[in-house]
């Protein structure tokens, strides 16, 4: 904790404030001004130009009756829940790397994980798009080679899903029933380099004496993970959770690239961010898009608050 200083001393060090000013001005200009502008424009019928008409809460009223917006929140909720589970492999990989006895190998595994980060995100998305391609994509090739498709077709015929056909390739992104599963599958095996590095940092801060004490108590490997490692990296897990929730709710690049601005077949891949983009750049309803952004902001704030209040870390 920092020591309190007197007001007189604080005022005396005015040059320090002067040095902070440029950074503060840039933060205000590039972070706060756009947000405040979005709040302001959410009360206008605005099409992106300088002409706008004040409409009060009309954009928000419209949003509350917008069935596409609310169904997009359902879709994103499913994806957020799935993303919670998708955090698990990163935790396991972090633990496995942490337990490697050789420092050299630990280093190389970290490098292997970090190297793909230099590949632009867009390229990764394109690779996944190719992966899902119904005709020449890798996923369908694997499914066909392993004979899984026959099983799926049989299930389909039994349950009457109307999704898998014997004489047509599986259209992962072209069938509304398969879009959400495909979006969940995206990123398999779900090992995020940033996540692994965050968890590794947490694991490395666990003292050796704790492991030694546990060993004396005779706990096995799984128990070490469950009772020592996992509880002690919960701060990092919580941080990842907050970042994941914010990222998932705000993001729409994946859906835009894989499915297009209309959310794909049946609009099944429509998420709030994509709907905001659609309204702004497809329909030219910038004011309404700002209102959607405000609603999204409130949701993110609420979820972050819930996370902060109820996801407790007790060590």
């Amino acid at each position: 904790m920092s020591l309190p200083i007197s007001n007189r001393k604080a005022l005396y060090e005015w040059t320090l404030y002067l040095l902070v000013l440029p950074s503060l001005a840039l933060v205000l200009l590039f972070s706060y001004f756009p947000s405040i502008s979005a709040i302001y424009h959410s009360f206008f019928d605005w099409q992106g130009g300088n002409m706008k008409q004040f409409v009060g809460f009309a954009n928000f009223r419209k949003a509350f009756g917008d069935s596409i917006l609310w169904s997009s929140f359902v879709t994103i909720s499913i994806l957020v829940v799935a993303n919670v589970f998708k955090m698990v492999p990163s935790i396991f990989i972090a633990v496995l790397i942490h337990r490697l006895k050789s420092d050299k190998w630990q280093y190389w595994y970290r490098v292997i994980l970090v190297v793909p980060m230099i590949v632009p995100g867009l390229v990764t998305l394109f690779i996944w798009k190719f992966f899902f391609d119904p005709n020449i994509g890798l996923l369908n090739s694997i499914i066909n080679t392993l004979g899984i498709k026959t099983v799926l077709v049989n299930f389909d015929q039994f349950f009457g899903w109307g999704v898998f056909y014997a004489d047509a390739p599986i259209s992962w992104l072209g069938n509304p029933h398969l879009i959400v599963p495909a979006l969940i599958l995206w990123g398999f095996p779900w090992i995020g380099a940033v996540g692994v590095l965050i968890y590794l940092a947490g694991l490395q801060s666990i003292g050796q004496e704790i492991y030694e004490a546990a060993e004396l108590d005779g706990i096995n490997s799984w128990q070490t993970f469950l009772y020592i490692e996992l509880p002690l990296i919960m701060t990092q897990v919580r941080l990842s959770l907050v970042l994941m929730i914010i990222g998932s709710l705000q993001g729409f690049g994946l859906q835009l690239l894989l499915l297009g601005p209309e959310g794909g077949a049946g609009g099944a891949g429509m998420v709030p961010g994509l709907w905001m983009f659609n309204r702004a750049f497809q329909a030219g309803e910038f004011g309404y898009a700002c209102a959607i952004g405000m609603i999204l902001f409130i949701f993110i704030l609420a979820l972050t608050w819930i996370n902060d209040k109820y996801v407790r870390v007790e060590k």
């Binding site: 019928d45 099409q47 992106g48 119904p134 259209s171 077949a265 329909a283 030219g284």
Partner: protein, 531 residues
Amino acid sequence: MKWEKISQIFGLSLVAICFILALTRVIFREVESRDPNQITIRFAHWQLEGTVPRALDALAAEYMKLHPGIKIEQIRIPNKVFAMWSTTQLVGETAPDLIQMQALAADKLVRYMVPLTNYVYEPNPYNKGNEFENIPWRDTFFDGLVNAPSYNENLLELYGIPQTMHVSRVFYNKDLFKKIMGDTRIPQTYEEFQALCEAVKAYSKKTDTIVIPLAASRDSTGIGWTLFSSQTQKLTSKTDSINALRGKGLEENKIAFLKNELDIASPEYQSGLRIFREVSQYMQSGYTTLNREDAAFYFLQGRAVMTMAGSWDASTYFSQSPFNVGVFTLPLPSPNHPDYGRYVLGPITEAGLQSSFSFGLSRTSAHPEIALDFLKFITSKHGNETFSKIAKWLPAVRNVPLIDIIEGFKPVSDGFPSGPALSTWGPDVDRLINNNLYLLSDPNGSVEKFTAAIKPYYNEALISEARRNLRERLKNSARMDSQIGAASQLSLTDPSDQRKVSMLFEAQNFNEAGYYYVRYELKKLGISPDN
């Protein structure tokens, strides 16, 4: 330890070299733009096909040679982000001098672009010495510049000057075609086209290879919609009360739908959807999720015998395919076709083709007169010929000779207008159609399923589009009011402004007439014109 030190020095040196290189580049660029005698004109577009930027570079180089002291810079923006990029540039008043026009809403045109109407009545000075020397610039173009996006019919103003015109054609893999069909001629009728598709399917099955008849994508559903519009042709004449021999305007068609004069469940529309579904079965599975590049990839890899694309893709296909490529016009069902003939008037004409790849002049241009001069240069007969030759695109200027490679794209002038469409009537209608297109293409889908999914929401989407149109027209009127006021005041002292005032009044009347027409019709139908 030693290795660690070496790697540290190496890393630091790498960062330092990169920084110095970047700094040098920035400094030199700064020096260049600070040259007080140099004027820089920037133009931006999204045509990244290799031949187009090359053609524009050649024209820019020629212009710079003619006008030392002027620098022309070409800015290439990918298609996917151009709409967002141009909007932000225009709103932020940082747009280049010349910018490729797209379907900019009237309010944006009025606010950000310079009307070029007054300039096109004068001859283009760069046509000196040819047959257009004394002809108004406007009349040197094959369409007289009466089409969007160059001309805005709501504002009665011309905002862009085009470089080309585009037609859609079926591109086919000549080698694969010969392998499958032998010496059979390319399809001349819809039946022959179907026979070809069936033969490709049979070939694929027999040889156990992935070869599909048609490579398609969600961006290139043109083949389906072209066939569709052959089925609604007779509806055009049915609703054409003044025998204008052309399709109705967008707003009139929307109102016709709301009045039930047009109906998705009508036999014509159902037949159109049936033929759309029929041809979809020849496309790759899940094409509704793929985009234009994916379709091109399929075709260029030899996995599809045909693909439908615009003439803008010709240079890409001709230069990048490892096989011989040919083109033909998509054959439509004739009036004698047993299933589809009863709704067909005849072949669809391309006589009303619109010119495209138009450049507009930004209001924020620091040197509008020079930017306009460059625009005149590139759209002169010589400029357009150079462009057409290098870009391998059809010319927009009359009498420009066609090079061999684009001969197959010569527009078909005989025939009848196409019928009213189902989509392309605005973002909400498009979204509704595109989201449900899988019901037309899926093996399990059907015309009935698609109709059932669309019909309950179609009018709602049309109403949303009509309301959007009303809002836009109202804002345009408000903007025009101030322009009319200003122009009227100026005309008191300068009589030459009278013509401008008269044009503004005409545009305002047209805009208001459109506004009251839609408003009146909506009210008559018991629909609130406001949200």
